[in-house]
C-alpha cells in the first residue's frame, strides 16, 4: 500500500499542478529577447504614423497647416479632425460613458493632446513631417486645480457638453463637474460622527501617477481591401472588447475584425483603454490600403495615455474612547483630466472606492465622490489594482493611523480592535459589499510576531530619545498596513464594460495523444498565465502542465472574455479554466467507465486517472481516455474531448494582507532607507508560490515608487513636469530593498479552486505601508499626516516645518 501511496504523490508532483513553484514557461523567450511585441511586427509595405501634439494645456486651435508636411517626400497623408469627421471618428466614446476627441476638434484640453496624425513611408520621415505641421493656437486660461473648477472665473473646459445637466452618472452641477457618486448612509454617518467620543479628520491626497509599463502603447492596423478584413495588433489588455468597440465605431462587421494582443510588456491598467493612436492607425490603413504602425515614445506614454489616482480624500473617522470605530465619512474630489476616461465597470464611476471601510467592522459609513474636469491628460485607470482600490486602501490605512494618534493608541492595537472577525464572514459592509472570507487576526498576529513588533517600538522610542539628545539625526518609522482588496470583477448582474458582462472564458481541447490546448479570454502582460493556467488545468484534468499549451489574445481563436486587469484573471478566467476542466473530466468519466466496463458511479478520480472503486489496479489514465475519445465509437458519447466554460462569478474575491515596513529617515537630507519590509499575503489557494513571490516583489516595488517619488506633476500652466524617466521615478535594483514574504491561506468559498488573485495586492498594501512608515517616523514630533510622494525634499520640508532643523 505504501508503494501505491508514494506513486500517487509522484504522479501528483509530475503534473506540476496547483501549489507547484513551476518555472515560468514564458521566460525562455523573454530572457533571450525572443518575445514578439507590437513593435516587432513588420509587414510588407507598412506605413508609420506619428502625432502632432499640443504644447498647450488649453487652447483654441485656430488653424492647422499641413502643406509643408505633405510636400516632404515619403509623406502619404496628414489626418486631422476634419478628415475623421465624415466617418464620425473625430470623437470616440470612453469606457466611463463620456466621449473623447481622437484628434483636436477646435480646441485642445491637455498638453500632449493629439492634433494631427502624420502617415509616412518610414518612422523618420513621419517624425520630420510632424515638425512641419503648423498649428495656430489661441491660448485659453488653464485649470489645473480641481478645487477651482467651480469658481465663478473658472474656464469652461468641455464646451461640447457645457449645457448638459445630466451625465452618464447622473446630475452635473457645473460644466466642469462630471458626476457625484454617493454610497452608504449620509445622515446616519453624520449623526454617528456628531455624537462620537473621538473624531479624527484628515485630507488624504493620493497624487497623480502613471502605470508606465516598460513597453509603451502601440498598434498595427492592416485592412485587407480584397476580403474586407481588418487585422489589428495592439497593446490591449482587453482584446475582445477592443474588437467590439472597433466594430461599433468603424461599422466593420465584427466577424471581419481580428484583434491580436501579442506579447505585452507590462500593462498595469495603462493598456485597458482605447487611445487615439489605435483609431488613427485603423483609419490610416483603411484610407491607404496598407498596414499602418503607430508606437508611442516614453514621453507620449507618460504625458498623454492613461494616468492613475489623483484623488483628494477628505475623511472623518469616529470612535469610542476605547478605540472602537463607529463611523467613517469620506468626500473625494477626483481629478479626471480633460475627458472622463476611467476604466471602471459602467455602474461604478469611482470604481470600488466604496471598499474604503477596509479590513474593519465599521457599522456606519458614507462615501461621496465628485468627478472634476481639469486641463490634464485623461485616464484614472487602475494601476496595478482593482478599480480605485489602492485609493480606498490608502485612505483607510491613513485614517486609522490618524485616529491612533488622536486616541494616543498604538496603531497595531487599534487595527486589531476593529478587524472584521473570522466568524463574521461572509461580512456585509456598510458601503454595500459582501466580503467572501477572511481571517485578519491570524494574519496580523503572524506579521507582528514575525517582525518582532514590540521590540521595534522599543527601538523606535530609544531612537527618539537619542535624537532629542543630539546623538543621531535619523528617525525610525514603522509602517503598518492591513489591507483588504476587492478583485475579480465581476458578477455580470452588476459589472460590465461598455455593456459587456464581466465574465470570462476558457476553451479546452485535449489532443489524441493526451496533451492539451487551452484558450482564454484574458491576456497576460507578464503575469505568467501560460504557466499558471496550465497548472490549474493540470490538477483538474490530470495532464501535466508541461503538456498543456495556453493561448490568449487572438480574437479569431480565443473565446470572448473581458481581459486582464483588476486581478480578475485568476478569479474569473481561472475559475472558467477549472470549470471547463471539470467538464472534460465529466466526459472522461463516461469514457473511462465504458473502457473499464463498469458503471460511471463505480469509478473515481485519482490525480491523473479514473480508478475502479475498491480495485486500484483497474484504471484508465487521462491520456488513455483522450486517445479512446478519438479512436473508439462509444455509444451515447460524441467523439473528441473538448469543453468550454463561460464563468460568471457569483461574487468578487477579497484577498488581504498584513505588511510592515521599517525605515530610517535622515532628517537633514530627507533621504529614507528601507531596512525591512515584511509582506504577508493571503490570496486564498496558492497556484504557483514562486510566481506569487515574483508578483509581490514587483507590486511592492511599484508601491515603493509611488510612495517615495513617482508622480505626474503639472505646473500652473498645465505643463507636465515629470515627462521623462529622469524625473518620473522607476526604481532600479539599487533603490529596491529585500522583501520578506509570507502567507496565510484562506480559500475563497465561492471560487472553484478557492483562489483570489494576487498580482495587485502588493501595490494596494505597499503604498500605505511605505507612507505610514514615513509619517510614523515623525509622529513623536507632532506630525499627523503628510502627503505623498515622500521624496527627499518633501520629507525634508516635513522635518523643517516640525522645527527639526533648528540645531543642525
Amino acid at each position: 500500500m505504501s508503494a501505491t501511496a508514494e506513486s500517487v504523490q509522484e504522479r501528483r508532483a509530475a503534473l506540476k499542478g496547483l501549489g507547484t513553484s513551476r518555472k515560468r514557461v514564458e521566460d525562455a523567450r523573454f530572457t533571450q529577447g525572443k518575445g514578439n511585441y507590437v513593435d516587432d511586427i513588420k509587414l510588407p509595405d507598412m506605413l508609420f504614423g506619428d502625432f502632432v501634439r499640443s504644447q498647450h494645456a488649453h487652447a483654441r486651435v485656430k488653424s492647422i497647416d499641413t502643406s509643408a508636411a505633405m510636400e516632404l517626400p515619403g509623406v502619404i497623408a496628414v489626418l486631422t479632425a476634419k478628415d475623421l469627421e465624415p466617418l464620425n471618428l473625430h470623437w470616440m466614446p470612453t469606457l466611463a460613458g463620456d466621449k473623447q476627441m481622437v484628434l483636436a476638434d477646435g480646441k485642445v484640453l491637455f498638453q500632449g493632446q493629439e492634433i494631427a496624425f502624420v502617415i509616412a513611408e518610414d518612422r523618420y520621415i513621419a517624425a520630420d513631417a510632424v515638425d512641419l505641421v503648423k498649428v495656430e493656437f489661441e491660448e485659453l486660461p488653464v485649470l489645473v486645480d480641481p478645487f477651482k473648477a467651480e469658481l465663478p472665473d473658472a474656464p469652461i473646459l468641455r464646451e461640447d457638453i457645457a449645457d448638459e445637466k445630466e451625465g452618464a452618472h447622473g446630475a452635473r452641477r457645473h460644466p466642469n463637474h462630471i458626476f457625484t457618486w454617493e454610497q452608504g448612509d449620509k445622515a446616519a454617518t453624520e449623526t454617528v460622527i456628531g455624537e462620537a467620543d473621538v473624531v479624527a479628520e484628515e485630507m488624504v491626497y493620493y497624487h497623480r501617477t502613471h502605470p508606465c509599463p516598460m513597453e509603451t502603447c502601440g498598434s498595427v492596423a492592416s485592412m485587407d481591401k480584397v476580403n474586407g478584413k481588418l487585422t489589428l495588433w495592439g497593446t490591449f489588455q482587453a482584446p475582445h472588447v477592443v474588437r467590439t468597440v472597433a466594430s461599433l465605431l468603424s461599422g466593420i462587421a465584427e466577424h471581419n475584425i481580428r484583434v491580436v494582443s501579442p506579447d505585452i510588456g507590462g500593462g498595469f491598467g495603462n493598456k485597458v483603454g482605447v487611445y487615439p493612436g489605435y483609431v488613427c492607425s485603423i483609419v490610416a490603413s483603411i484610407v491607404t490600403g496598407k498596414p499602418v504602425k503607430w508606437v508611442e515614445d516614453r514621453m507620449e506614454n507618460l504625458s498623454a495615455t492613461a494616468f492613475a489616482r489623483d484623488y483628494w480624500m477628505q475623511g472623518k473617522i469616529a470612535a469610542t474612547k476605547e478605540g472602537k470605530i463607529t463611523g467613517l465619512w469620506c468626500h473625494t474630489t477626483a481629478d479626471h483630466g480633460a475627458f472622463d476616461a476611467c476604466a471602471d465597470p459602467t455602474k461604478y464611476p469611482a470604481g470600488f472606492m466604496n471598499i474604503c471601510t477596509g479590513s474593519y467592522d465599521i457599522p456606519t459609513a458614507y462615501l461621496a465622490v465628485d468627478g472634476i474636469y481639469t486641463n490634464k491628460a485623461p485616464g484614472g485607470v487602475a494601476y496595478r489594482c482593482s478599480f480605485r482600490v489602492t485609493e480606498a486602501a490608502y485612505f483607510i490605512e491613513r485614517m486609522i493611523e490618524v485616529l491612533a494618534i488622536k486616541l494616543n493608541m498604538d496603531a497595531a492595537e487599534l487595527r486589531a480592535k476593529n478587524f472584521i472577525r473570522k466568524d463574521q464572514f461572509p461580512y456585509q459592509s456598510a458601503l454595500g459589499w459582501e466580503y467572501d472570507s477572511g481571517d485578519y487576526h491570524t494574519a496580523w498576529d503572524k506579521a507582528l510576531e514575525s517582525v518582532g513588533y514590540s521590540k521595534l517600538r522599543e527601538e523606535q522610542s530609544q531612537r527618539v530619545e537619542d535624537f532629542k539628545a543630539g546623538k543621531t539625526r535619523k528617525l525610525m518609522g514603522i509602517g503598518l498596513c492591513h489591507f483588504t482588496e476587492i478583485v475579480g470583477a465581476g458578477p455580470v448582474k452588476n459589472c460590465d464594460i461598455l455593456g459587456m458582462g464581466m465574465f470570462d472564458s476558457c476553451e479546452i481541447r485535449i489532443h489524441p495523444t493526451g496533451s492539451a490546448l487551452a484558450r482564454l479570454g484574458t491576456i497576460s502582460q507578464g503575469q505568467g498565465h501560460a504557466t499558471t493556467f496550465a497548472q490549474i488545468l493540470a490538477t483538474e484534468i490530470g495532464i501535466s502542465a508541461d503538456d498543456i499549451t495556453i493561448e490568449e489574445g487572438d480574437t479569431d481563436t480565443a473565446p470572448y472574455g473581458l481581459g486582464t486587469y483588476g486581478s480578475r484573471s485568476t478569479p474569473v478566467a481561472g475559475a472558467a479554466t477549472a470549470m471547463a476542466g471539470r467538464k472534460i473530466r465529466a466526459k472522461a468519466q463516461m469514457i473511462a467507465a465504458y473502457l473499464l466496463e463498469v458503471h460511471d458511479n463505480d469509478i473515481e478520480w485519482e490525480v491523473d486517472r479514473f480508478v475502479v472503486k475498491g480495485a486500484p489496479e483497474k484504471f484508465k489514465t487521462m491520456k488513455e481516455i483522450a486517445y479512446a475519445s478519438y479512436n473508439q465509437a462509444i455509444p451515447g458519447v460524441e467523439p473528441g474531448l473538448e469543453a468550454v466554460s463561460y464563468y460568471d462569478p457569483p461574487n468578487m474575491t477579497y484577498p488581504f494582507g498584513a505588511y510592515v515596513c521599517v525605515m530610517d529617515v535622515d532628517v537633514d537630507t530627507g533621504v529614507s532607507d528601507i531596512r525591512q519590509f515584511y509582506a504577508l499575503d493571503d490570496c486564498g489557494t496558492r497556484i504557483n508560490p514562486m510566481i506569487i513571490e515574483g508578483q509581490v516583489h514587483g507590486g511592492l516595488t511599484e508601491a515603493l515608487a509611488i510612495a517615495l517619488g513617482q508622480e505626474i506633476a503639472y505646473d500652473e500652466l498645465g505643463n507636465v513636469k515629470t515627462g521623462t524617466l529622469m524625473d518620473f521615478f522607476i526604481p532600479t535594483s539599487w533603490e529596491t530593498p529585500n522583501y520578506q514574504t509570507d502567507f496565510t491561506e484562506t480559500p475563497s468559498p465561492h471560487h472553484p479552486i478557492g483562489a483570489k488573485g494576487v498580482g495587485e495586492s502588493p501595490n494596494v498594501g505597499g503604498v500605505p505601508a511605505f507612507s505610514n512608515a514615513i509619517n510614523d517616523a515623525f509622529r513623536a514630533f507632532g506630525l499627523t499626516h503628510t502627503h505623498m510622494p515622500h521624496d527627499h525634499w518633501r520629507i525634508w520640508k516635513t522635518a523643517n516645518e516640525l522645527g527639526l532643523h533648528a540645531e543642525s
Partner: protein, 285 residues
C-alpha cells in the same frame, strides 16, 4: 524621440577630427559617449547636420600615470576609469566619483572627455576636475592649448572651448591624501541634488596641509571653493573652522528650483553633503 537627419563621420585621428570640425564648422557636433548629446537630439533641441564620432580615435583612449601626473584621454569611459588600478592608486577619488555617475550601462559608454567638455552643471566630473586642479588639452585649427578646469566653465553649456576645438586630454597631479565625493541623488542615474568633492592632506603634526573643495549642480557651473579650501588649511578642521568653511562655500552656490526640490532645500542639503565630504576626507587623510 526621433532625431533629425544628420551625416555621420568617424575620423581615425585627432588631426583628421580637427580638420573635419574646421571644415564643417557650426553645422557639426563632436560626439563622445553621446549620453548628453543623443537625448538632446532625440528631443530635437539639438539638430546638428553632422556628427563627428571620436570613437575610432585610438589615441584618445588611454590612462597613464608618470612623474606624479595623471593623463587621461578624452574618450576613456567611466567604466575604464573605475577599472584602472593604476589610476585608483594615483587618485582614488576618481573611482569613488565615477561609481556615482549614472548606472553601469551608461558608464560603459559615457566618457570623461564628454562629461567635462559639455558644460552641463549636472555632470559630476567637472567639479571633480576642479577639485583635482586638472587642466584640459584643447586641439583646434591653430594647434593645442591647455585651460585649467577652474577657469574652463563660464555658464551652463558655455565653456572656454572654442567651437572648432576638441577636448582631447585631461591631466592632473596624482593625489594620495584624504578624499571624498559625496552625492545626494534621488535614484541611480540621476543628477546630483547636491554633491561635493573634497581632498584634504594631513601633515605629520595633524594639521591640514592642503585642501581642495568643489561642488556639483549647485550653480550654473561647477564651483571651486577657493576661500573655503584656504580656510581649512589656515584654521584646521575643528568644528568652528569647518562651519566657517561650509558657510563660505554656501555663499558661492546659487541652486535653482526643480523637481529635486526648491533652492531652499538644496542649500540645506548642500551644506550637509559638504560637511559629510569634509569629515570623510579628513577621516581618510
Amino acid at each position: 524621440m526621433i532625431t533629425g537627419n544628420f551625416e555621420y563621420h568617424q575620423p581615425g585621428s585627432i588631426p583628421e577630427a580637427v580638420a573635419l570640425l574646421s571644415k564643417l564648422g557650426d553645422d557639426a557636433r563632436v560626439i563622445a559617449g553621446g549620453h548628453s548629446l543623443i537625448p538632446t537630439m532625440k528631443l530635437r533641441l539639438a539638430m546638428p547636420e553632422h556628427l563627428i564620432d571620436l570613437q575610432a580615435v585610438k589615441e584618445l583612449r588611454k590612462i597613464s600615470v608618470s612623474g606624479g601626473e595623471v593623463c587621461i584621454g578624452a574618450m576613456t569611459t567611466q567604466a575604464e576609469l573605475i577599472a584602472s588600478e593604476e589610476l585608483h592608486k594615483a587618485a582614488p577619488i576618481v573611482r569613488e566619483t565615477s561609481l556615482q555617475i549614472a548606472d553601469p550601462q551608461v558608464r560603459y559608454m559615457g566618457t570623461l572627455g564628454g562629461n567635462v567638455a559639455n558644460g552641463d552643471p549636472g555632470n559630476d566630473m567637472p567639479a571633480l576636475m576642479q577639485c583635482l586642479d586638472a587642466s584640459f588639452t584643447l586641439s583646434g585649427p591653430d594647434g593645442e592649448r591647455t585651460v585649467n578646469a577652474r577657469e574652463f566653465y563660464e555658464a551652463a553649456y558655455f565653456t572656454a572651448r572654442d567651437d572648432l576645438e576638441i577636448l582631447t586630454e585631461i591631466r592632473f597631479p596624482a593625489y594620495s591624501g584624504g578624499y571624498a565625493y559625496e552625492k545626494q541623488k534621488r535614484k541611480i542615474g540621476d543628477y546630483a541634488t547636491a554633491a561635493a568633492a573634497v581632498l584634504l592632506t594631513k601633515g605629520a603634526d595633524g594639521s591640514c596641509e592642503q585642501a581642495s573643495i568643489a561642488l556639483t549642480n549647485l550653480s550654473d557651473t561647477p564651483l571651486f571653493c577657493e576661500e573655503a579650501s584656504r580656510q581649512l588649511v589656515s584654521d584646521g578642521l575643528d568644528s568652528a573652522s569647518v562651519n566657517s568653511a561650509v558657510a563660505s562655500a554656501m555663499g558661492q552656490i546659487d541652486p535653482v528650483d526643480d523637481n529635486r526640490g526648491p533652492a531652499e532645500f538644496k542649500r540645506h542639503a548642500a551644506a550637509i553633503i559638504l560637511r559629510r565630504a569634509i569629515q570623510q576626507a579628513w577621516a581618510r587623510a
